[in-house]
């Protein structure tokens, strides 16, 4: 394949990526683009890693051997994703150690949903089914990312995530068809998670004003992603006999979902490090990072 000439001028580069052009690690790129890429991809890596901490508690409590195996496999995938993603960030100029240090120091962000507590086995199902479903919609919008190395690893990641959704749906299905108390655990979990789920794709800023869309790091706007999520999953939620805790939620005749305005202040508050579990989870990681520094020293000295 003939090498594509990447324009060495910011405006021309912007037009290049907007017309579907892709960039490799060694290509020239505007500093602003590189910074945005690092910020975006690093947050993705952090989210994969922080997402396993709430699951950790439930691997230990999983009620059957099969569920325990499935959850363990899921977190193995997720840490594996974090590994791949941090490698992409590293190639862009920020070392993994620095990403991990910034994460525990509260200098870097991770997704809103991983700042909340998990209270029951119902939460485990809702997270694996609906949080992962919301995440996969965002991730599919990265398959065409203008930064080619990121787009390539997303193929593997999306493929594995699709299994997590099946696992989540199966956990939910077993419970909604189980005892009334089990059904109630799922409904309560849905009630708890609906707010964070509606905030997950971000505020509805027009795609043209979203820098991540402008640089074609992602290929769709926030509201488009949320609509896709509602369209795909609200009917399934209803099918299981569950109630979405939003009386305003309905699909208009033109196919657009209307809903109660999500709490954007809460989203901002949470992702800037003030979620109900933010500090506890970061402190937990920090504790072991410090406790086992000697291990990394031994390995690096070898």
């Amino acid at each position: 394949m003939a090498a594509v000439e990447i324009p060495r001028d910011e405006q021309a580069f912007l037009e290049y990526v907007q017309s579907g052009g892709q960039v490799e690690t060694t290509d020239w790129m505007p500093e602003d683009y590189r910074k945005k890429l690092i910020k975006f991809i690093e947050m993705h890596g952090n989210s994969e890693l922080m997402g396993v901490l709430p699951e950790r508690e439930w691997i230990l409590r999983a009620p059957t051997l099969q569920r325990k195996l499935a959850l363990t496999a899921k977190v193995q995938d997720e840490v594996g994703h974090a590994q791949l993603i941090y490698r992409v960030v590293e190639d862009l100029g920020k070392p993994r150690e620095q990403c991990l240090a910034d994460l525990v120091d509260g200098k870097a962000k991770f997704h809103n949903v991983f700042h909340y507590p998990t209270q029951s086995w119902g939460d485990v199902g809702v997270i694996a089914w609906l949080v992962d479903a919301a995440a996969i919609i965002s991730q599919k919008a990265l398959l065409k990312c203008s930064y080619a190395p990121y787009a390539r690893i997303m193929k593997k990641i999306c493929w594995e995530e699709s299994f997590h959704i099946l696992h989540g749906r199966d956990v939910i299905l077993a419970m909604v068809t189980g005892t009334p108390a089990q059904f109630e655990l799922v409904q309560e979990a849905l009630d708890r998670w609906w707010g964070p789920l509606m905030q997950f794709h971000g505020n509805p800023i027009p795609a043209d004003e979203d820098p991540m869309f402008l640089w074609r790091i992602k290929s769709q706007g926030n509201e488009e992603a949320r609509q896709q999520f509602l369209d795909g999953y609200v009917p399934q939620i209803h099918e299981l006999g569950l109630t979405v805790p939003d009386p305003k939620l309905h699909k208009r005749d033109d196919g657009v979902w209307e809903y109660t305005e999500p709490d954007w202040d809460e989203l901002k508050h949470v992702v800037t490090g003030h979620g109900p579990k933010t500090e506890e989870r970061l402190a937990f990681r920090r504790r072991f990072l410090e406790q086992e520094q000697w291990v990394r020293d031994v390995v690096l000295a070898a």
Partner: protein
């Protein structure tokens, strides 16, 4: 085949897999987070296969794994210990894998072909765990805190095996067998105080619904 021996194997793998899952998200290197999830997964998979063999085709492996009384568990004190600290965690991994290989090798010669077949299958996966444990043993071998951890856990490792297999463990590890006095409280058949809180947490969801509920 002595069912108690099989139960000892399955309970060891279940409880050790549980302990290794405690490292989820907090291992000293991301690579080890992946490795420990993978090892824990294999251990729990082995436990399930052995429970299934014990209960037979129509039996309930989950009930056997989770619904027994504490004193009916046959796991060894070694796997029960709460060790969220890398030197001891790796010392246990290494000692466990050496002892486990001796036990599995003996089971591969079992006259019951179902047992021998399953042991051979488990052995193939354990080979990777042994490589991982050996790699860490080599890396940390010169570290005083790792040597101290091995010394701490050695009586427990010996207590994992029946008397007839212990001499082989001493040869393979290069360590001297402890006196009977030192083995007290470390041998299979007794439990440490750390098993009860583990079992409580492991079964908390399961116990929240009536027996027989589907999860």
């Amino acid at each position: 085949m002595n069912e108690q021996v099989l139960l000892g194997l399955a309970d060891d793998e279940l409880v050790l897999g549980w302990r290794e899952s405690e490292w989820t998200g907090i291992a000293p290197l991301l690579e080890e987070d992946v490795a420990f999830s993978s090892i824990a997964q294999n251990e729990i998979g082995h436990a399930r296969a052995v429970y299934e063999l014990i209960v037979g085709e129509d039996g309930d492996a989950d009930a056997l794994a989770f619904d027994r009384k504490l004193d009916e568990y046959r796991c060894s004190p070694l796997v029960e210990l709460h060790l969220l600290e890398w030197a001891h965690t790796i010392a246990r991994r290494w000692l466990y894998e050496v002892a486990d290989e001796i036990r599995i090798t003996a089971l591969k010669d079992d006259p019951d072909t179902a047992v021998a077949g399953l042991a051979a299958k488990i052995d193939r996966e354990e080979a990777y765990h042994r490589m991982h444990a050996e790699m860490w043993h080599d890396r940390l071998g010169d570290e005083p805190r790792f040597q101290a951890a091995v010394e701490d856990l050695w009586p427990y490792a010996v207590g994992m095996l029946p008397e007839g297999l212990r001499a082989d463990l001493a040869v393979r590890t290069g360590l001297d067998l402890p006196s009977n006095n030192l083995l007290q409280g470390h041998e299979r058949g007794t439990h440490t105080p750390e098993l009860a809180p583990l079992w409580d947490e492991m079964t908390i969801v399961r116990r929240s619904a009536p027996t027989g509920a589907q999860w």
